[in-house]
Symmetry: C2
Subunit: 320 residues, 2 copies
């Protein structure tokens, strides 16, 4: 039997696939060659998961890979309608990003609580100005998104002593349903968005929802940019509807140098790095290699995306 | 019997002493009048605990207060040799600053782990540059200072998943003794100084100890400035002996505008605010009022400083 063909999109820097030597024929594609090379691929590894190339190339002619793996938590950049209705299995990198993103959110929340951006600006100006911080312990947080990342974020905030509610699509033990979101937003000190980007969630943080928040609320988005109506968030910041925000993801990435987002008052801008701690690419390679070995052996794959919902459901198959 | 006289040093903004109305005669002094007014005081509340006025005024003529309270954790600014050998009781604000300082240290550690100062500088320049953060979970921390603040800091770092050792003056269960300090420094990712300033600890972080640390180590000082030989720390940062540092306390405060500390590479400078969260002055007032009521009733005072050691010993009288 011929070796299966693994097509890797945008392999710079390349994944570490040494353990698969002799077990798979590895081919490479970039955004321009992807469409032409898809028919020869048994498996597609979307190594550059920030690319739209798969959405664009998938609807083309000829056979399609039987399995597409994206080494990211969100699958929104990959999941075009044609792929969604196909027989191709889509998997994600569940397990890799939870802990780093939870730490990153804790870093952002604590930085805002302790007024660290102002401290650093005063340091730049050699200016000593004592201020009072906020206590995170005893404050109230709402995490929107009840997947493994949202739950890890909630765990980190609870470890800091914040009373933390998690909101998912449907209520289940320990998780609030959508109907609780608005009242929870109205009394939260911290609102963290860690939801998947789907048709149901796009634009969910809009002027109405920022209007529900308190003037002391701070908002964090580590999900996907289009979950937030960016213009509405900027407006809420400029009008002091809320006290501050931190965005790690944006409607358009990389953020353009002339974007008004950079200079919004009380906003921390970071370049989509919340999940990326030293060694992350190696951990993603290792995860994929392990999954490939299962696939080649005919074993069931973990982290299979429910292509209708747009994310990996809970292991226990309860809705999330 | 005449009401006792409570002398308050530098009451701007004033402490809230309303509950003591009719129970005590409250008088006020500033740095210039303190020496002249000390003889009339039964109790001295050093409301501005950053002042050296008590050290300077105490050795003067006439009766001295029977009790001195400093609404701070450290008593180094108050404890002159003449006060140390006197019968006057000195108390501190144990219980107020532990949790805020622990959160502040967590904020600094996470900010350094996630490269937040660089992120904010890039934001200022409208520059998108992805970088990798460090994981705090699984890293190694050493907290120097086994009092309640050091232990609270260790608790916060452990909650973030860092393997955390605490070093005190003497070994006891869960606490390393001084003899373990140097080997612990040599393998720490994070070194946090939360020790009291005493003759034994002044200058303990010097060139030799920075030289023991790894090039990846980050150092945090939330104790007192003179625990660190500032010139040696700056040298260690400039020579990249260590990767970064954060100072909330300094040899001289406020830090002078022309101090070289402001611009040291990889250094976060904050204006002695680690313990000060919104409402802190009210909490300090309330603590003092409660202690005053005990004192007036002839009950034993809590938080009594061991004036030889220069800090409040553990409640169980084991050494710390």
């Amino acid at each position: 039997m011929a070796e299966p063909t693994l097509l890797v999109l945008n392999a710079d820097p390349p994944p570490r696939l040494g353990r698969l030597t002799g077990k798979v024929r590895v081919e490479y594609a970039d955004e321009e060659t992807l469409a032409a090379r898809l028919p020869e691929a048994d498996v597609l590894l979307v190594w550059d998961f920030a690319s739209d190339a798969v959405r664009l190339a998938w609807p083309g002619e000829g056979p399609r890979p039987r399995w597409v793996h994206t080494p990211s938590a969100g699958v929104d950049r990959v999941l075009c309608p044609e792929l969604a209705v196909s027989d191709t299995v889509v998997t994600n990198a569940r397990g890799i990003f939870e802990q780093p993103i939870a730490e990153y959110v804790a870093a952002l929340v604590l930085a805002m609580a302790k007024d660290l951006p102002v401290t650093l600006e005063l340091q730049r100006r050699h200016e000593w100005r004592h201020r009072e911080g906020l206590a995170v312990a005893g404050s109230r947080a709402v995490v929107v998104g009840a997947g493994p990342i949202g739950r890890a974020v909630a765990g980190a905030l609870r470890a800091l002593g914040a009373t933390t509610a998690v909101v998912g699509r449907q209520a289940r033990p320990g998780i609030h349903g959508e109907q609780d979101l608005d009242p929870l937003l109205a009394r939260a000190d911290w609102v963290v968005c860690a939801a998947p980007l789907t048709q149901a969630t796009a634009g969910m943080f809009d002027a109405r929802r920022f209007g529900l928040m308190q003037p002391s609320t701070r908002f964090v988005n580590v999900g996907r940019g289009p979950l937030v109506v960016e213009a509405d968030l900027l407006d809420a910041l400029h009008k002091r509807w809320i006290a501050g925000a931190a965005l790690d993801v944006f409607e358009s990435e990389p953020l353009a140098p002339d974007s008004p987002v950079w200079d919004a008052p009380g906003l921390i801008v970071s370049p989509h790095m919340s999940g990326d701690t030293v060694g992350w690419r190696d951990r993603l390679s290792e995860q994929f290699v392990g999954m490939y070995e299962l696939w080649a052996a005919g074993e069931p794959l973990p982290n299979v995306v429910d292509k209708k919902r747009g994310y990996v459901p809970m292991h226990d198959h309860s809705p999330d």
